[in-house]
Symmetry: C2
Subunit: 232 residues, 2 copies
Amino acid sequence: MIVSSHPTLEHSHATAGSATQQAYLALRRMIVTGDLKPGEKLKIDVLRKRLDTGASPIREALSLLTSDQLVERFDNRGFRTAATSHANFTEILNLRCVLEDMALRSSIAHATETWEEALVLSHHRLAKQPRTDVEAFETRHKAFHMALLANCDSPMLLRYCGQLYDLNIRYRYLAGRALDYQRRDVTREHAGIMHAAIDRDAELASERLLNHYRQTGAFLSGLFAGGAPGSS
Amino acid sequence: MIVSSHPTLEHSHATAGSATQQAYLALRRMIVTGDLKPGEKLKIDVLRKRLDTGASPIREALSLLTSDQLVERFDNRGFRTAATSHANFTEILNLRCVLEDMALRSSIAHATETWEEALVLSHHRLAKQPRTDVEAFETRHKAFHMALLANCDSPMLLRYCGQLYDLNIRYRYLAGRALDYQRRDVTREHAGIMHAAIDRDAELASERLLNHYRQTGAFLSGLFAGGAPGSS
DNA sequence: TCCGTCACTTTTCTCGATATTTTTAGCCCA
DNA sequence: TGGGCTAAAAATATCGAGAAAAGTGACGGA
């Protein structure tokens, strides 16, 4: 169901998979949710004990996380989580706006009934999910946003969007519940985007989507001035 | 000097580095140049013997190559090189056009003398490099194109451009010397792009750059019809 | 006081062996 | 003949120990 940014993992909350896979998922979540802080050194041994697995799976998982730009690797000097900064946040926001705009328009251009129905479904699930369970909410939130783009004809573009989504969500976690959720009626915004998409109105849908992002973006960006998230 | 698409490797033709690093570079080149064919199964043991190293470095190198979308990983089912297809080629071309357009404009907008000089230098090196040594030529060709974008203010965007460049060059290698170099005066095209950039004429530079890409693109695309490269 | 050097500690990286999973091939039975 | 089961083979994935590299801090000379 849930589109992962990485071709390797298919299951959303699967029981097992290889040790590497489990480590990958665990580490990924730890980084995205801020459990592992930006720029933090990732010592193999520490992680090995924490996740109760061997060094090889950890090492391989970290290498894979490199794809997602959540981890950086330094030859003979180990791994660390990607740093955060205001500039980086802005970059992500800008790239998302450009790429998601493309993807959304393409998605709408190729609209099918199946896509439309999947979109409605993901929206329903999102609307029904209470905000109390933050992780569950974020999972569905991503699922909804990816469902919007899912019908686009470019898997690579989709992959980039997924990646950028996760990088962005990381900043949301870092900002903490500061922005939970400002004063906006986000639910209404989602519905608005979805309806425009269903009506095949690419122009309107895109406008609403980008607005959606830019508002959260501006808010988060403001927090930086206040010195909230970020390492450097 | 040479901007690598991967933060890990700094040296262009360094002597050593870790075994993983060496494997990464070797495998990368093998895939890009078509020595390892698209969609090919990558058996650890075979590669281990071929590169005369352990299984761990191979494994880790392959995981890293995942970042570059040159390798795909399947849990418990090993690795294979990324497949090629006409659709994929088109995707890459389109993404490149959008992203390089952004990057180039940004690069020009932030133009400095240092950047300008580095650009001129890379162009000179490219012009001086005879086409007989294909790999050396391609290295400088990439260096030139990246130099154009290098001054853009978004490292992530740059990274994507570098990745896409390599994915594209792979198709060129696959097409073989079929397009070496059609009937165009590519050298003149490069000079044209560079001069527009130096003149800070973003509009013209971008137009020339995209034209440059689209022409090669159209040509390569034509080869697909003739059933030249690609696996599926 | 400052800088370079050396030995020591910590951490990363690599190897070879073993465990687990997938794939293949053979076989039986409808 | 063909589908499904089982055993053997092949490949992947994992572990634990040892080698190599980077980091640390004390000592000695200018």
